[in-house]
């Protein structure tokens, strides 16, 4: 470590203003603070002293995503080997297959996103922010495994430029960047993002997992099956036609976008976020309460027109991307509500809207993405009214004391 530090100190003057590579100053500073914690402190008075910074927050979020990531990789392999009729191929076969299938998406998402951020920072002489570290891993986790990498590249470029850089970069965006990527893909390439062919990798990767798909194969996710069924009590099956239970959905061995299938792993991630105080428990809790509430209401009036109303509230939480959105998307501190009461309203409405869209709009089998994006737009309004209410309350108290 000492050698690295010395090397950095040696090359540093080249990157400072006037140096040979002064145009790349923010790249250098980005790498330096990535490798070592910055040792500069504020010279004027500050109120809060804490070693917590964006880098540490982002690292914690990445750590909390690791269970979902690892399980997602395993599940890609599991679904693939199940589809080719060989689910007992061994843990490492499954895992390596999933890893190789997911790796291109992760690499592309990081290269495109960080590339644009670096270029933007150089042009505007800003510091490079750590914001994309989390977004870059979230994007592959919320996309179906069969999304072509060039689509991920286009969508990532679009959302980093139009959802983030245009508003002023990290911390200034109105909408969640990862979800904008997902929404872009969903509306631009609907054929690749939903239906039977999107969620289960059936092709061999780097020669691994050769085999033809079994006859009974159908790659629809449970929510996709519900949306296309016409019965009041649809029977949910896995990809080879065996019925599945809510426990399967909780553990996560079902087809779906990469990171969202396992509610258990998401809850482990939630525990890490809450234990370290990184995410707001108020938002998380109220999203779940909102979802359970709306799921309960919908379940009171089951109908064949809206087949998803046959799901119990608990099933709503376990299937689809609801839990993932509640834990990792709704709690984004930049795009969410910031007032303490506002957080409850914001989270609750996300939960209600997600289930409302899921049940009563047959065009969208999953509503979590749209619900979070919609409430992102309303978060400032919620905050405004909470603050105004507080001002009114205190004015009233001040007048009473006169």
């Amino acid at each position: 470590m000492k050698g690295l530090r010395n090397y950095l100190n040696k090359v540093k003057p080249n990157f400072m203003p006037g140096g040979r590579y002064s145009k790349l100053q923010s790249v250098f500073e980005g790498f330096e603070s990535f490798l070592f914690s910055p040792n500069t402190t504020s010279s004027t008075g500050v109120s809060i002293h804490d070693s917590n910074d964006t880098k540490r927050t982002m690292t914690v979020v990445i750590m909390s995503l690791v269970p979902c990531l690892l399980f997602g990789i395993y599940n890609i392999g599991y679904q693939h080997y199940l589809a080719i009729g060989n689910p007992d191929a061994g843990f490492w076969n499954l895992f390596v297959y999933g890893f190789l299938a997911l790796l291109p998406s992760i690499v592309v998402s990081y290269v495109v996103g960080l590339g644009i951020e670096f270029i933007g920072a150089q042009i505007r002489h800003h510091e490079i922010q750590e914001g994309f570290l989390v977004t870059g891993i979230l994007i592959p986790l919320i996309c179906p495994i069969n999304t072509p990498v060039w689509m991920i590249a286009v969508a990532t470029a679009f959302s980093v430029i139009f959802a983030k850089e245009i508003f002023g970069g990290t911390g200034m965006n109105i909408f969640n960047v990862a979800l904008i990527t997902r929404a872009f893909l969903f509306f631009a390439y609907p054929a690749k993002m939903s239906g039977d062919a999107a969620f289960v990798a059936t092709e061999p990767v780097f020669g691994l997992g050769e085999g033809s798909v079994v006859d009974a194969f159908s790659g629809a996710t449970p929510l996709g099956q519900i949306a296309t069924s016409a019965s009041e009590n649809p029977v949910l099956t896995n990809i080879i036609g065996e019925p599945i239970s809510t426990l399967d959905a909780f553990l996560g061995l079902i087809p779906g976008s990469v990171g969202e299938t396992s509610t258990l792993c998401i809850l482990i991630g939630a525990a890490i976020l809450l234990f370290t105080g990184t995410a707001s428990w108020k938002i998380m809790l109220s999203v779940f309460v909102g979802g359970l509430f709306m799921g309960f209401i919908a379940h009171l009036f089951p109908s064949a027109t809206y087949p998803a109303s046959s799901l119990t509230p608990i099933e709503h939480i376990c299937y689809g991307g609801f839990a993932f959105a509640a834990v990792f998307m709704a709690t984004d501190p930049v795009t969410g509500a910031r007032t303490e009461i506002g957080k409850y309203i914001y989270g609750f409405l996300i939960g209600v809207l997600a289930i409302l869209i899921r049940v009563y709009n047959s065009g969208y089998p999953e509503g979590a993405m749209l619900a979070v994006l919609f409430m992102n737009a309303f978060a400032p309004l919620i905050d405004y009214f909470v603050v105004q209410a507080n001002i009114r309350r205190r004015l009233k108290r001040a007048k009473m004391n006169d």
């Binding site: 072509p148 060039w150 286009v154 872009f184 509306f187 631009a188 390439y189 609907p190 054929a191 690749k192």
Partner: protein, 207 residues
């Protein structure tokens, strides 16, 4: 040939005083009819004709219009012209008339028309007013065509209905971007044009 005021009236709206990207008027139809190139061009021509002639007519009678009913007079003139254009389209290009549906009729609500009548035709002579109408119409049409070019190319892979993206691309896995056909991307495209335009004309940038 042209006096200074006429020249400014004709050429100003093409870039530095463009109705769409500088004054941000006429955005609604800009989002609605630009999914394909052909309707966008027809729309551009229709709006140009209507702005030019409504400017001319209002400018001719500007001294006889009582000030407190001028909006009604303007509306009558514009509505008459819109109906003429609509009928001509129905007679000679029925398919296009169907494709543009209500948006030809809605030219009457296009902010550019009222804006030019109020701001220019009511206080200028007929000839400069006519040129101002032509200039603003073309300024609007240019933006429509540029937006429609990108939307049709990326959204449908065609230009004027003829496929321009080679079939080999599709076989290699390329797909048309369905979002480009939806109105939100028209807004983003107009935004990009404004971005490019303001970066070229630094004095237009707001502080």
């Amino acid at each position: 040939m042209l006096s200074k005021i006429s020249k400014e009236a004709l050429l100003g709206p093409l870039s530095r005083n463009n109705p769409v990207i500088v004054q941000v008027l006429g955005i609604c139809s800009c989002l609605a009819v630009t999914a394909k190139l052909e309707p966008a061009i027809v729309m551009g021509i229709s709006v140009t004709a209507i702005t030019a002639f409504s400017n001319l007519i209002i400018s001719l009678i500007r001294n006889t219009i009582p000030n407190n009913i001028r909006i009604i007079v303007q509306l009558v003139v514009v509505a008459a012209l819109v109906i003429i254009v609509d009928q001509v389209l129905k007679a000679y290009n029925y398919e296009m008339s169907k494709a543009l549906s209500v948006f030809i009729g809605l030219i009457i609500t296009n902010c550019i028309l009222m804006g030019r009548l109020e701001a220019f035709a009511l206080s200028n002579k007929p000839w400069p007013s006519f040129l101002d109408g032509i200039g603003n119409g073309i300024g609007y049409a240019i933006i429509l065509v540029v937006v429609a070019f990108f939307r049709e190319l990326l959204g449908s892979g065609t230009l004027f209905g003829i496929q321009v993206i080679p079939q080999a691309f599709y076989e290699m896995g390329y797909s048309n971007n369905g979002l480009m056909i939806l109105p939100p991307m028209a807004l983003v495209t107009v935004g990009c044009i404004i971005w490019w335009h303001r970066s070229r004309n630094k004095d237009l940038q707001e502080q």
